[in-house]
């Protein structure tokens, strides 16, 4: 295995010895929020795991705003926590810069390696821009791993109906249809996982790919499901986080996340081919209602982007999509803004055809993923218009209906997965 931790960190880890729990926080210029996250994690470890030896690891991407200093200096008021039993060992804390491709995935890799070096039984990772994290999140993400032998615990949040649209329209329905597990927030960003799974992650040679960036979350979740490990969910309430990362561009983010999922479909083809339907996964914690922040969406801009894509990217779509799908997309583009709607069946076929084209490398994969962005924006606009007056439960039922179509249409995916003579002829016509 490639050794990538710096010598001073290795020396520090040798001094530390073994721990039971590693809590990881990736960061990059998060000085505004990371102090709160560090306090919540430290409090959670002290309050819920007083008997366990634990360490908090901040894996930083070279912040210049004092993020690392804040991590090391954040004070936790143990008296205010009303601890039943005081921690046998205080929570240790270290902050280290990670090496490799700049991104969340590289930060996680360092945390996985720290967990391996310290022989940790359970790990938890949380985002550094969280404003709604509480100490109980740590318990809910760690305890199923530590005491119930779960390998991967995904978060289950309450989010605004317009929030997490890549998750709702692609990632959740696709992972559910592929692996048969109803993990509602596969790319939530806050996870608990076992040592066994951390070792599986470290074995994989993916650290020069999009997994090292935004692709890490879907990769972690899909790997856990694809490897057939025990997967659960933890009910964490609302997810409130800092304003959007200014460095995150939708096209890049979309390409990395959805492209990573399409790439994983190739790796786990033997697994998902035979999966039919889906089953719920255990949910830990006590579900409760919370208010979520209102969100503004510019639907007209999204529809404009969709129309521009359908008009200008015809040649590219000709290499990816079936003629009937292209015709249907063209017809939707011609609709008035008030009547604009992309039906579920069309969306599912579209995504499956893109996944197949990605697998068959019909064109450059970056171009392929970029060309999906306008269509995704169109679908998001359609969804927003559709659920504008719906409550949270109705929206959840709407997403459930979409998931059932993804599952029902899986034979369509299989029929397009391998290049067929019909596909070749269709391709020859369009080129």
């Amino acid at each position: 295995m490639e050794r990538f931790l710096p010598d001073d960190l290795l020396a520090r880890l040798r001094e530390t010895g073994e721990v039971d729990i590693v809590a990881g926080i990736p960061s990059y210029n998060n000085v505004r929020t990371i102090g709160h996250v560090v306090k919540a994690v430290s409090a959670g470890l002290a309050k819920y795991f007083p008997e366990q030896r634990s360490i908090l690891v901040n894996s930083d991407g070279g912040s210049g705003d004092g993020t690392r200093e804040t991590v090391l200096g954040a004070e936790v008021d143990h008296d205010s926590l009303l601890l039943v039993s005081h921690p046998v060992k205080p929570v240790q804390r270290l902050s280290t810069p990670y090496h490799g491709v700049p991104g969340k995935g590289s930060a996680f890799r360092t945390i996985f390696e720290v967990a391996r070096q310290l022989n940790a039984k359970a790990c938890v990772v949380v985002d550094s821009d969280l404003r709604s994290i509480t100490p109980q999140w740590i318990e809910l993400l760690v305890r199923p791993v530590l005491e119930r032998e779960f390998d991967f615990v995904a978060p289950y949040y309450l989010r605004h109906k317009y929030d997490g649209t890549i998750t709702n329209s692609i990632i959740y329905p696709m992972t559910r249809a592929l692996f048969g597990k109803r993990v509602r927030q596969p790319i939530g960003g806050d996870f608990g996982f076992s040592r066994r799974l951390a070792l599986v992650y470290l074995e994989r040679d993916v650290w020069g790919t999009d997994v090292a960036r935004f692709g890490i979350d879907i990769w972690m979740a899909a790997t856990a499901m694809g490897e057939g490990l025990r997967v659960g969910q933890a009910y964490l309430g609302a997810k409130l986080h800092d304003a959007k990362d200014p460095g995150s561009d939708l096209t890049d983010m979309f390409r990395q996340v959805v492209g990573s999922l399409f790439g994983l479909m190739g790796s786990y083809e033997k697994i998902w081919r035979d999966v039919k339907g889906s089953e719920p996964v255990p949910l830990f914690g006590f579900p409760f209602e919370v208010g979520v922040e209102p969100i503004q969406v510019d639907v007209e801009r999204m529809i404009r982007s969709y129309r521009a894509g359908v008009k200008d990217l015809q040649e590219i779509y000709g290499e990816i999509l079936e003629p009937e799908t292209r015709d249907a997309l063209g017809a939707r583009a011609a609709e008035s803004t008030d009547a604009f709607h992309i039906p579920d069946a069309l969306w599912v076929h579209l995504i499956y055809e893109f996944a197949a084209a990605h697998h068959q490398k019909r064109l450059d994969r970056d171009h392929l993923m970029q060309s999906l962005v306008p269509l995704y924006l169109g679908r998001t606009a359609s969804f927003v218009r559709e659920v504008r007056d719906s409550n949270a439960q109705a929206v959840e039922e709407r997403i459930e209906a979409l998931c059932r179509i993804f599952e029902a249409e899986k034979p369509y995916l299989l029929s397009r997965w391998e290049p067929s003579k019909r596909g070749e002829q269709s391709y020859a016509r369009t080129v």
């Binding site: 929030d163 969406v297 404009r304 982007s305 200008d312 590219i316 970029q370 080129v431």
Partner: protein, 233 residues
């Protein structure tokens, strides 16, 4: 009279017959080489087209500007058809050279030598064209996707401009390699390219000033702007 007739007609005819007899084997060889060459070239075209189709050459060429150009000409069924016909033509040329060589005259010998010396340049120019068309197609698509996703109008125009620019450079380099109109070509290209840049700058400055003003205002105007604060992930 008879002597005169022999000197005037029979002797020249005899010499002509002798000369013709000397050339005939060469001509027969030329004819045979051309017939066999034609058959070999046709057979090679058939085999190569099938091999290329089997090796998904059309799909590869679809990623190049050359592939698009071949498709747009409407002359060739596919890139495989084009490549197979190219090989057929090259084989034909080769057999014509062999046939010329069979005539064994000074002129044909010089022609063959000059052509053989030119072959490396032809191959290099062909490779430059192929590579340039590949890059042009890729960059054109990158520009198109970036422009569409950035919400710019005239995305196809931008992509077309990128493709044209790269292909123009490629053609200039290829012709330079073939030593065709070097100076005239470079001067023409410099004038053309410079003209395009100046015209573009003037057009953008005059016709696009409102667009630029709006864009700059949009970039600097924070108030009243519809912000999206939802997360896609």
């Amino acid at each position: 009279m008879r002597e005169l007739f022999e000197k005037a007609f029979v002797a020249p005819l005899g010499r002509l017959a002798d000369q013709f007899a000397g050339v005939v084997p060469g001509l027969i060889t030329v004819a045979l080489v051309l017939i066999v060459g034609g058959m070999v070239a046709a057979f090679a075209r058939m085999v190569i087209e099938r091999l290329l189709r089997w090796g998904k050459f059309d799909r590869f060429m679809a990623q190049t500007e050359l592939g698009s150009v071949i498709h747009r000409t409407g002359i060739f069924r596919s890139a495989s058809d084009f490549a197979a016909r190219l090989v057929q033509g090259a084989l034909w040329l080769l057999f014509i050279l062999v046939a010329l060589n069979a005539l064994d005259t000074e002129m044909t010998r010089n022609l063959v030598v000059r052509f053989v010396n030119y072959v490396p340049d032809l191959i290099t120019a062909g490779l430059v064209l192929l590579l340039g068309s590949l890059i042009s197609h890729f960059l054109g698509r990158s520009a198109l996707l970036a422009a569409v996703n950035a919400g710019w109008s005239g995305a196809r125009l931008i992509a077309g401009g990128v493709r044209l620019l790269v292909m123009s450079l490629t053609v200039v380099v290829a012709l330079e390699q073939l030593r065709i109109g070097r100076t005239a070509l470079l001067v023409a290209f410099a004038i053309l390219f410079g003209g395009v840049v100046v015209a573009g700058a003037i057009a953008f400055g005059l016709a696009g000033r409102d667009l630029v003003r709006d864009w700059l205002q949009a970039q600097t105007r924070a108030e009243g702007r519809k912000e999206e604060d939802f997360r896609h992930l």
